[in-house]
Amino acid sequence: MTASRYVYAIGRALEPADLAGLVGIDGAEVHPIAHRDLVAVVSAAPADEAALRARLERLDELAVVAEAHHAVVAAVATQTVVVPFRLATIYRDEQRVGEVLHERYAEFSALLDRLTGTVEVGVKLYAEDRAPAPVTPSASGRAYLQQLSQRHRRRDEKWQHAAAAVERVDSSLGALALDRSRHRPQAAQLLGVAGDNVLNAAYLVPAGRLTEFTDLAHRLARDEPALRLEVTGPWAPYSFTEPDHGDRS
């Protein structure tokens, strides 16, 4: 057991009982550190910082730590509004966590105000991956070049259509959401899914309109036969923690 504290998130209106039984990194017991109405959700940090660093460089270990971090954030988010912290934010001791809550009280309060009653929904769109017509060896070089340029034109058209469709879906969803954040498209091949990830976005949605939002997403996707939809969440509002977050798209 160490004095240093790993911070998962900051919340409001949390009682120690709300965190009972919750475990974080390395099975450490999660507990609150309160300052006025703010509560930092923390656990003992791994004792050996160098070892933690080395672990994060190993992808299997990184996955374990990331899941542990996320599990705590997700569990607390079901109970109260939270500002999720980035992985591996560690303070020397409990007193330092209290000092940070004190120093940044206004900033944290404003963020919590903005995020109260909201959830984050992930929306991914994939463009269908149709194999282009093969270019057949032809008697004339001219015909071959024509085929090539046709193929390029078709591919350009496909991307233009996909881009326009993404804009349509994104703007309709954006109109229902309070805010949105674009993530980087994921390499679909790496994830073992079909198509090309052409939109990877997060929307901040009023919790009471979650079903309406996901229904809208599915309805919009049905109108776009070239796109496949994937909805994830609800998530704690990871993507909306910048103090003056605006539409970054």
Binding site: T78, H183, P185, R248
Partner: protein, 121 residues
């Protein structure tokens, strides 16, 4: 329609490890902790995961370029980061073979269809 408790009915669904990593590393509130070395390491780690997970070429082909203002993913920035990444590897003394093994491992983890669900209480 209103959802009295959005968490009650729908657990985190359809998400993969990449979704979790991009949120806990790339998003989430960044506040300097007391362990400074950790902050630096996390920055480098984030870059590494971005390069692994992000698929920029396809989207650029479509003319979608919202990350162009993001130095880590503009083409110049990306080259710079790849160089930094290489330096990081060298600094850490990671042999290429180990990195390849790690990348393969990540691929397998990322494409794993089902992972244990967390249970919101």
């Amino acid at each position: 329609m209103t959802d009295s408790n959005p968490w009650a009915t729908s657990q985190r669904s359809g998400s993969n490890l990449a979704d979790v990593l991009e949120r806990v590393l790339d998003k989430g509130l960044v506040i300097a902790g007391d362990v400074k070395i950790c902050l630096l390491d996390i920055e480098l780690l984030t870059i590494k995961i971005r390069l692994l997970v992000a698929s920029v070429d396809k989207a650029r082909e479509m003319g979608i370029d919202w990350w162009e203002h993001d130095p880590s993913l503009s083409s110049r920035g990306q080259r710079q980061l790849e160089a930094e990444n290489k330096q990081l590897r060298q600094r850490l003394g990671l042999p290429e073979r180990q990195l390849e093994a790690e990348n393969e491992q990540l691929r397998q983890r990322l494409s794993a269809p089902e992972r244990p669900k967390e249970v919101p209480s």
